[in-house]
């Protein structure tokens, strides 16, 4: 069974979730082709081989330098029509979700989005995906014949160990659209600027109403920095204007799945839980020992976060030699 994996490239490097997709592809099929689109992508092609691709289809062109829906969908749909893979996978990022939806529409393929488990039942994909803000799981299957598409939630599948000695055939593909046939033009980009993306983060330190104001995020940011983690926030803190929306974790924010989630001053409303309940270890720090967040947490500290966080930070620095 032939499996295509779209390798999402940021700044010349594949994102970790694309490696997770390659790892899963190897379990589902016997021939894995990585699709690497962009400009100056030789390193990404090597990384795709190292993480499990048997072959790579490479499209290196200025019109593909940054992900855009029209040129990427036209290219992917064309390659799927030409090579007829059984399965097409990508990470369920904003770009991955758009791209696979668009290509599935073009080739009339069945699509399962943002899945946390994926297997084959006969020759049809079967997935488990959280719905309704992560409150229940939905078990879904593709019913139609032809190429089947699935996007995978970041960090839901293990990342394969890279093997730099692996290599394979590289097939060059030409862009499907000329630049003047593409309506969307990217004028400027404000980069997320070295910040660790919440959805990729292995450690998140998050603050809520209990931080009391924008300056209250200082001890949270310090602890996140010590741990090499990202900063999250509850809706209450974002709605109060203490921290930008891009930090929001929960039903109307980002869904995250880190190894460690430290919730400080977050009561744990069901909408917040929807965004973080799949974290491996949850630590709750809250003045109110009856807050719902403690029901979800493995470890809890009842008390003032402004007292506890600096002491935690100091202990971590000591023990991690930072």
């Amino acid at each position: 069974m032939s499996v295509f994996v779209w390798i999402e490239v940021h700044d010349g490097q594949p994102i970790p979730a694309s490696f997770e997709a390659l790892g899963l592809a190897r379990q589902l099929g016997d021939r894995v082709t990585g699709l690497v689109f962009g400009q100056g992508i030789d390193d990404a092609v090597k990384a795709a081989f190292a993480h499990g691709a048997d072959a790579v289809i490479k499209a290196d062109d200025a019109s593909l330098a940054r992900y855009r829906f029209e040129p990427y969908v036209a290219l992917l749909a064309g390659l799927v029509q030409e090579h007829n893979p059984a399965i097409v996978l990508a990470a369920a990022t904003t770009s991955g979700r758009e791209l696979l939806a668009g290509a599935a529409a073009d080739v009339e393929g069945g699509l399962l989005t943002d899945v946390t488990e994926l297997s084959l039942d006969g020759d049809k994909l079967k997935a488990v995906r959280p719905v309704l803000g992560g409150k229940v799981l939905s078990v879904e299957t593709v019913t139609a014949g032809g190429p089947q598409f699935a996007t995978l939630r970041s960090r839901a599948f293990p990342q394969p160990e890279p093997d730099a000695s692996r290599s394979g055939d590289v097939i060059d593909a030409a862009p499907a659209l000329a630049e003047d046939a593409i309506a969307a033009k990217v004028e400027s980009i404000e980069s997320a600027g070295g910040q660790i993306s919440l959805t990729d983060a292995t450690i998140i330190v998050a603050g809520g109403r209990g931080v009391g104001g924008p300056e209250g995020f200082a001890p949270i940011k310090e602890l996140a920095e010590t741990l090499g983690g990202a900063v999250g926030a509850s809706r209450a803190a974002v709605d109060a204007g203490w921290i930008p929306y891009e930090h929001q974790v929960g039903q109307t924010g980002k869904v995250v799945s880190p190894d460690l989630y430290i919730a400080a001053g977050i009561s744990g409303a069901i909408q917040h839980q929807a965004g973080m309940r799949t974290a491996k270890v949850i630590v709750a720090i809250n003045k109110d020992a009856d807050a719902p967040i403690f029901k979800l947490a493995r470890y809890g500290m009842a008390g003032d976060l402004f007292d506890i966080l600096p002491r935690l930070n100091e202990e971590f620095r000591k023990k991690l030699n930072k």
């Binding site: 990022t93 529409a105 719905v131 309704l132 019913t143 997320a192 202990e315």
Partner: protein, 255 residues
């Protein structure tokens, strides 16, 4: 200028949900307007005010989705249409996209289609991008701001929030956009608006009205069952000493 906004009802985010032995979903409360759609509907009304646009609001679903249409009419949408047909039962994203794209085509002169970021009950946004694809229009997803819109020149400039940062993108109309909650403060209906909406007629467009047959919207994926989340093991361990917590976390090997 003609703006179409697509909306659905969804269980309340705070509602208790449970799964019965047969894998069916039990939801306590009644459905509400998809919270993401409130931003899309409000943005459509802001465009109406700024550009004297005509606003059509559409849903795909049974009569239980009329609440979302009424909400839109009460805020100022000019007409409401419900797309439904028995053959759409069990729709997947592609069936949704084909029916909505056909309805937009039937309206004829639509310049811009607005969606809320996603539908929580299916936890997906695929139908948005597939609608754009079936229309052959450019989708601009995850829009935090419409910076400029020139209906005469047929251009739009938006800010999109994606993983790698914030993109400023220009494109041509007609286009399809999905909006984030950053984009505006949702408008709420006035008493007069609600009374007016209650009297409005909401035609239902069937597949035949849209020039589609059942085969065209046969789903390519389906739900087999709902499942409860796996239970989290064990109760919380309360700790007083930060040093002890640090030791425990280092033992867990999560750092």
């Amino acid at each position: 200028m003609h703006v179409a906004v697509i909306t659905n009802c969804t269980p309340d985010t705070a509602a208790d949900v449970a799964v019965d032995a047969g894998g069916n979903l039990k939801v306590d409360d009644k459905l509400v307007v998809n919270p993401w759609d409130e931003y899309a509907i409000t943005e459509a009304i802001l465009l109406k005010e700024a550009h004297n646009a005509q606003v059509s609001i559409l849903t795909l679903g049974g009569p239980e989705h009329e609440e979302a249409l009424k909400h839109g009419l009460a805020i100022g949408c000019d007409q409401a249409i419900r797309i439904w047909d028995d053959a759409l039962q069990g729709w997947d994203s592609l069936a949704f996209a084909k029916a909505v794209a056909a309805a937009i085509g039937k309206l004829g002169d639509v310049d811009l289609v607005l969606f809320g970021k996603e539908l929580p009950d299916i936890a997906s946004d695929a139908h948005i991008f597939q609608t754009a694809r079936k229309l052959g229009w450019t989708p601009l997803g995850f829009v935090a701001k419409i910076e400029a819109l020139d209906p005469a020149a047929g251009t739009i400039r938006v800010k999109r929030q994606v993983e790698s940062g914030t993109e400023t993108v220009t494109s041509r109309l007609p286009a399809v956009i999905s909006v984030l909650k950053d984009i505006n403060e949702p408008k709420y209906p006035t008493f007069i608006g609600i009374r007016k909406a209650a009297k409005a007629s909401m035609p239902v467009w069937s597949l035949a009205d849209l020039g589609l047959d059942a085969a065209a919207v046969a789903p390519k994926a389906k739900r087999l069952a709902y499942q409860d989340l796996p239970k989290r093991e064990g109760a919380v361990e309360m700790i007083d000493d930060p040093a002890l917590l640090v030791d425990k976390l280092l033992e867990e090997k999560v750092i």
